[in-house]
Symmetry: C2
Subunit: 420 residues, 2 copies
């Protein structure tokens, strides 16, 4: 089945609004095995939109529209879909009652113009809008299907997932080959080094493999094509095993898993409490550790020792060390980690100190030089990192490297081998 | 002048890559007064891309393509543009030398396939690519113009700004009406309240006005249309004054200005040092204060007192107060602010404590309840806020509200009236 996505809305054609809907829908349709051949964006202009719809119906089996369902006169999608399919518009009493209820909840009368939103091409299956006044619709005519969706992504996306996806899945049938996805998440290796390590694996076609460089991590995106979900899962599982064999503990998670989710779960499972001492990250590490609800199970808090006086006063770093080694040094990272562990009674003390830039670098201490300290009941250690990129990138990489060290130290505790 | 933007790339049609280029280009073309009527996205398919290019040339004066300039066989944009315009491809020796130098810098030989990137439709103006191997091109043929740009946004955007924009500006001429933009940034008022306050102003057409709700702030986007930049600036300035008269100090900045930039500059100017005591924000406030280089001029650091024991141990909050008032209370916010100011020797102590959710709310203390404390040489105060939205949204709003209070207190010092 071939599809075209048609977005309508003048705001998309003056640079005001980024069209994320075409991207969202393309991913979902691809997963269903529907091939998306075109995206077309056109303004709220009756003549142009009609021509675009006629062309889309001529070259695709499925046309998905977003936008143009509002109450105003320039919202024309349903009217024009009905016209090009040769259908009448009909009032749907149920939808009208829903729209009236929507306004009643907001304690206002329904403007007369909103009645327009309850009209649909005859025979359409109506898709409820839980978050707005514009219902969507699925219209079938011969071997052509038009899916009509609202413009705002926060209305469109749940409507698609809840009501449109199941209809399209029925339409596609169970025999069709679908796409199944898995994302393997990696930290501690760059794109070109990873290409080298993965080698021939990158050439395989089912699952196919793409490397995506994210801000502070690398993703390997696997796509398996099969009509049989179990078989696709098996293929994905085999490739994941091959990747893990090559990358070892540099793989930290997959799909929805996040570094902080994994570290948090590891700490919680072992009943460990952590505290932070931050310099270059300025609070970002604490912010990451408290990102998910329930973080008080494992995070006590910490100190942002941005000025050296605070490293001394609140963390007990020795003035001598700051003078002789400098704030960005392994010894200061160790003292910060040990200091916060001692002063908070945490099991683990985690410290960051580095040069995020863009100013302040020198020959011996270039921008991107970072020391991370980790204090545990077994002692205190520091690791040196050299990161590249701008200030925000160095800070994000520091947070990831610090969390990753905690992850690896938790794995070590469990007796698993660590490759780093 | 009417334009169509044509994006090519199969990665855009399987949901892998979001097309941000059409959005970027549309904004720039609109600013030049060029009307963008269509965006079309098509895969790396010779037949379909050719048809799309023919259609685009038939309905637009200017066709802008992105993508399809790579060294592989399925990169076809220049070849097909040449074909539909009836032009030969010619080797450009200068571009070839540039590509060879690009590989020499990376210490590798140029793969033979990359030679393809030095061929252009005859007569094209070549646009250098500082960040990759694919130059762009501007081709004119009769009254039609085709602008050929690379796909990766980090290559395309600087190429457009540095080389394509000036060419298009010449093409459009000085007589054409252009769009001039200004963004007014507001904090502390919701969208519907703002609509009410602005009233009739929202109806004006030059400049026109749009409200955009950002994560933790509101933007008013003004667009003035004029061939005369000075006149447009005058129109924008007049409207900005009218908006400021209605919204007072709720307007915190404009265009590239940010809340943290303004607060940082205000502190630096007055030689004031600030320290933070964070609970619900977990380090985000410190992270915001250290986001820009040079933040050590005004930020000392602080304490993340996530667990109550740290509020006591590191900030000196009284156990009694925690027990009787609870951690989320005005009194605890005041003690945190006073505690961090005293322990760090800062001029200002800024504290946050609140319920970010999603769990932990109660009848008397609902999710989103936040207290912010501010300690200054003149004493210590707390303010209560009730925010809405998810955990991340409550945390971001808390950071903005805390910074905004510092902004307002700095204004007050200067004797300016504050409306809040």
């Amino acid at each position: 089945m071939k599809a075209e996505i048609v977005a309508t809305g003048t705001e998309l054609l003056v640079g005001e609004t980024l069209n994320t809907s075409a991207h969202f829908l393309t991913g979902k349709l691809s997963a269903l095995g529907i091939e998306v051949d075109y995206h077309t964006t056109v303004g709220d202009n009756s003549e142009r939109l009609e021509a675009v719809l006629r062309q889309a119906l001529a070259r695709a089996d499925l046309v998905v529209t977003t936008g143009g369902l509002g109450p105003t006169a320039d919202d024309l999608t349903k009217e024009l879909v009905a016209k090009v399919l040769g259908l009448e518009l009909e009032l749907d009493a149920g939808s009208l009652a829903e729209i009236e209820r929507f306004f009643a909840r907001r304690k206002g009368p329904m403007p007369a113009s909103n009645k327009k939103q309850a009209y649909f091409p005859r025979g359409a299956k109506i898709l409820p809008n839980k978050l707005g006044t514009a219902p969507g619709a699925l219209v079938r005519q011969g071997d052509k299907t038009v899916l009509i969706l609202p413009g705002p992504p926060f209305e469109m996306e749940p409507m698609f997932d809840d009501y449109a996806y199941p209809e399209l899945a029925k339409l596609v049938g169970t025999a069709a080959e679908r796409m199944h996805f898995r994302v393997i998440k990696v930290f501690g290796i760059g794109e070109s080094a990873m290409e080298e390590v993965l080698g021939d694996l990158l050439q395989q076609t089912n699952p196919s493999m793409a490397l995506l460089a994210k801000r502070a991590e690398m993703h390997i995106r696997l796509v398996a094509r099969s009509a049989d979900a179990a078989k696709a899962n098996m293929l994905l599982g085999e490739t994941e095993q091959q990747i893990r064999a090559k990358l070892g503990n540099k793989v930290f998670g997959r799909d929805e898993e996040t570094m902080i989710g994994i570290v948090g779960a590891g700490l919680r499972e072992r009943g460990l409490k952590i505290a932070t001492a931050e310099s270059c990250t300025g609070g970002l590490l604490g912010a990451a550790l408290t990102q998910e609800p329930g973080s008080s199970d494992f995070y006590l808090g910490g100190v942002v020792g941005y000025a050296n006086e605070l490293k001394e006063g609140l963390l007990g770093v020795k003035a001598d060390t700051l003078r002789t080694c400098g704030a960005v040094s392994a010894e200061v990272a160790r003292q910060m980690a040990a200091g916060i562990r001692e002063r908070t009674g945490a099991d683990l003390g985690l410290a960051t100190t580095g040069l995020a830039g863009p100013g302040g670098g020198s020959e011996g201490k270039p921008i991107g030089l970072v020391f991370i300290g980790l204090a545990t009941p077994d002692g205190v250690e520091a690791q040196k990192f050299q990161f590249y990129g701008g200030r925000e990138s160095v800070r994000q990489l520091t947070v990831m490297a610090a969390l990753n060290w905690v992850r690896l130290s938790l794995l070590l505790k469990k007796g698993e081998p660590v490759s780093q």
